[in-house]
């Protein structure tokens, strides 16, 4: 793999793609957190007429300058964001409509120019097209250096204004109250977005550019709750997608011709899918596990509650398995095993014994159940006969803080709406 960084032909596309994806991942995080991800999409499309104009100018001047189309891209993108703001502020147009308007009209104008040169200037046409879907493989060292400089500028700028940016995104009103001009911060965010678009369109093309602004941020958000980590992870994921995009498209090139840009996007999407399954916070897998263990705990607690009730009815702590099995209405053995492991019941040949600690927990569950019933009847004015199902669910989730709150709110009730005693609070 190391030759991707040393090979004279491969190194520029590899490093160039990685840089652009790193930058896009980093910068895109801000627009995603602002809940304005579509701005990236609009800005990348809006850059295209600038690219086309730049290429035409370069052609007219007979120069082979890579910089002209990129400057064009930046200018036309900035014009795009200016128009979006104008439409929203002055004409009260919904921001999604304004975004679509700018995206489509800029892109449309560019496409008109593109097709007009198709037959008369085939070389120019091909060059223009390379910015449409991207052409990572033909990047040169000059571009890499340019990207490096732009990345440096963006990262320094962002880090300098990191604290105000953070405050503005999370709490815009507070930001203003402490004297931050939030519109300046928004402009800063859009300016760095434009720069990252400029860096990115050569590899990814204007059509797919926004994916790298959005995917890494959305993916890393699944893993962490800290902004610093989100930013780092998004940059890293961007970089990895950039590398693997180049890697896979090159490795497979002898069999099929997969273009690099789309391959990068596919990699970024794969990272997202993997995260959506395996992230501990929101991943499908862990969610299923947590759901399963919660349901299991509910069944165990229901059994414990039943045992506690039996012990109150019979004034005993030992019961026959058959009797409990008959009353429990669900499979007994699995939850019983779990309770035994926790030391809340003891099992003999044919009987179950509730231990003192099991008694304590059972009492607590009954207590929460009845407290909740009192709350529903007295505080929410729910009919007495309708409170049971809700209490069946709440008894498993009421936290000690909510319990205390209920106690105070209901001024320490001793009986539930069905005249059953509420066991007192005990330290468990």
């Amino acid at each position: 793999m190391i030759h991707y960084f040393t090979d004279p032909v491969l190194s520029a596309p590899t490093i160039g793609s990685m840089l652009m994806c790193l930058l896009a991942g980093f910068v895109g995080t801000f627009s995603v957190l602002l809940k304005r991800s579509l701005v990236g999409e609009a800005l990348s499309h809006a850059s295209y007429p600038g690219v086309i104009l730049g290429l035409i100018i370069a052609k007219l001047l007979f120069v082979e300058n890579q910089l002209i189309p990129l400057v064009g891209a930046a200018l036309s993108s900035l014009l795009g964001i200016y128009l979006i703001q104008k439409l929203v502020w002055n004409y009260k147009i919904q921001s999604d409509s304004a975004l679509t308007f700018v995206l489509a009209s800029f892109f449309g104008v560019a496409l008109v120019f593109l097709s007009s040169v198709q037959t008369s200037y085939p070389t120019l046409y091909r060059e223009m097209q390379s910015y449409l879907f991207g052409q990572a493989a033909t990047q040169t060292n000059v571009q890499v250096v340019l990207y490096l400089v732009l990345t440096g500028i963006v990262l320094t700028g962002t880090l300098l204004f990191y604290r105000p940016i953070k405050i503005v995104i999370s709490d815009p009103e507070y930001a203003q109250a402490v004297g931050i001009n939030r519109h300046q911060i928004y402009m800063l965010i859009w300016a760095i977005t434009v720069l990252s678009v400029v860096v990115g369109i050569r590899s990814l093309g204007v059509v797919l550019m926004s994916s790298m602004l959005i995917f890494p941020a959305v993916t890393s958000r699944l893993w962490t709750e800290k902004l610093e980590v989100v930013l780092l992870l998004a940059s890293l994921l961007g970089m990895l997608s950039g590398f693997f995009g180049v890697y896979m498209s090159h490795e497979m090139s002898h069999a099929v011709s997969f273009p690099t840009g789309p391959m990068i996007v596919v990699c970024a999407a794969l990272f997202f899918i993997l995260s959506a399954i395996f992230s501990p916070k929101q991943g499908l897998l862990f969610r299923a596990i947590r759901k399963f263990s919660f349901e299991k705990r509910c069944t165990e607690e229901n059994l414990l509650k039943l045992l506690y009730k039996c012990s109150v009815e019979k004034n005993a702590v030992q019961f026959s398995c058959d009797e409990i099995a008959k009353r429990f209405q669900a499979s007994l053995w699995q939850p019983l095993g779990a309770l035994e492991r926790k030391g809340w019941v003891k099992r003999a040949e044919d009987s179950i014994e509730l231990t003192p600690s099991g008694m304590l927990w059972g009492r607590k569950i009954v207590r929460l159940h009845r407290l909740w019933e009192v709350y529903l009847v007295e505080y929410c004015e729910v009919g007495k006969d309708r409170v049971h199902p809700s209490a069946e669910a709440m008894e498993h989730i009421i936290t000690p803080e909510i319990e205390e709150e209920l106690e105070v709110l209901l001024s320490h009730p001793t009986v539930d709406p069905h005249k059953q005693p509420i066991p007192p609070h005990e330290v468990v």
Partner: protein, 256 residues
């Protein structure tokens, strides 16, 4: 000298007045309740003082100086709805935001600030939640975290927008105790409040507001039946209507 002095404050939303020519001054060390019906402009008053909404006219002075020079000495606790709760930030980081005016740009947060943030969290009984993401808190805990951020700022004036709306008993007690403590330290607190039953218990001063300033003064003098009635009875619909007409006609729009 008054802690907060507001002169001729007028605010329009969509061409209709929300606040109209408000003048008042609040002495230092009072706990002021802002009371009035829905749509009376209570939240807007706080925002207008801070310059968060465009004002038609008016000016504010803090300790005799224009507000723009005194931003660091006003702490604001917005309504819970105004905040993006999904934002990836922990409670501790949220509280550290309050130190913004002391260190504006990227520098590692100093140990002193960090210790102070923990201290502020301790005051609101939230120390053990410092590493939680802010959406993982109950409503009351969120409110307390926001109060901790305001404390972090170490201001002399505190503006709170309905901090007691929909919070639990514990939170209500903690917040009120804290505000009383602030007032004892000669700080000034203005708080939008909706529960008329608690006004006499909680506040030393009350500001009755319904688009116009109805009354301001010590609770015993101002929080009286006739004045409360006046606050809740006033209707500014006509004012609204004419103001709208004036501005649409003024802009050359067609009025049927």
């Amino acid at each position: 000298m008054k802690a907060l002095d507001v002169q001729g404050l007028t605010v329009h939303y969509h061409d209709s007045p929300v606040l109209w020519d408000i003048d008042f001054a609040i002495p230092q060390g009072e706990l002021v309740g802002i009371v009035g019906p829905n749509g009376a402009g209570k939240s807007t008053l706080l925002k207008a003082i801070l310059g968060l909404v465009p004002t038609v006219s008016g000016a504010c002075w803090v300790d005799g100086k224009p507000l723009s020079q005194m931003r660091a000495s006003i702490a604001y606790v917005p309504q819970r709805e105004a905040v993006d709760w999904d934002f990836p930030i922990t409670v501790e980081q949220l509280v550290l935001m309050g130190s913004y005016q002391r260190s504006r740009f990227l520098m590692p947060v100093s140990k002193k600030e960090r210790a102070r943030a923990i201290e502020c969290l301790e005051k609101v009984g939230m120390k053990e939640y410092k590493d939680r993401q802010i959406s993982q808190l109950s409503g009351g805990q969120q409110q307390r975290a926001f109060l901790a951020r305001a404390l972090m700022q170490d201001a002399t004036i505190y503006l709170l927008d309905e901090p007691l709306a929909g919070v639990d008993h514990t939170t209500e007690e903690i917040i009120i105790d804290l505000l009383r403590e602030l007032v004892r330290q000669k700080k000034t607190v203005l708080m939008v409040h909706h529960d008329l039953n608690k006004v006499e218990e909680y506040f030393s001063y009350v500001l009755l507001l319904n688009v116009r300033l109805i009354a301001l003064g010590p609770v015993g003098e101002v929080f009286t039946r006739p004045l409360i009635d006046k606050t809740y009875r006033k209707n500014f619909a006509l004012m609204d209507e004419t103001q709208k007409l004036l501005s649409t006609k003024g802009q050359g729009e067609r009025v049927e």
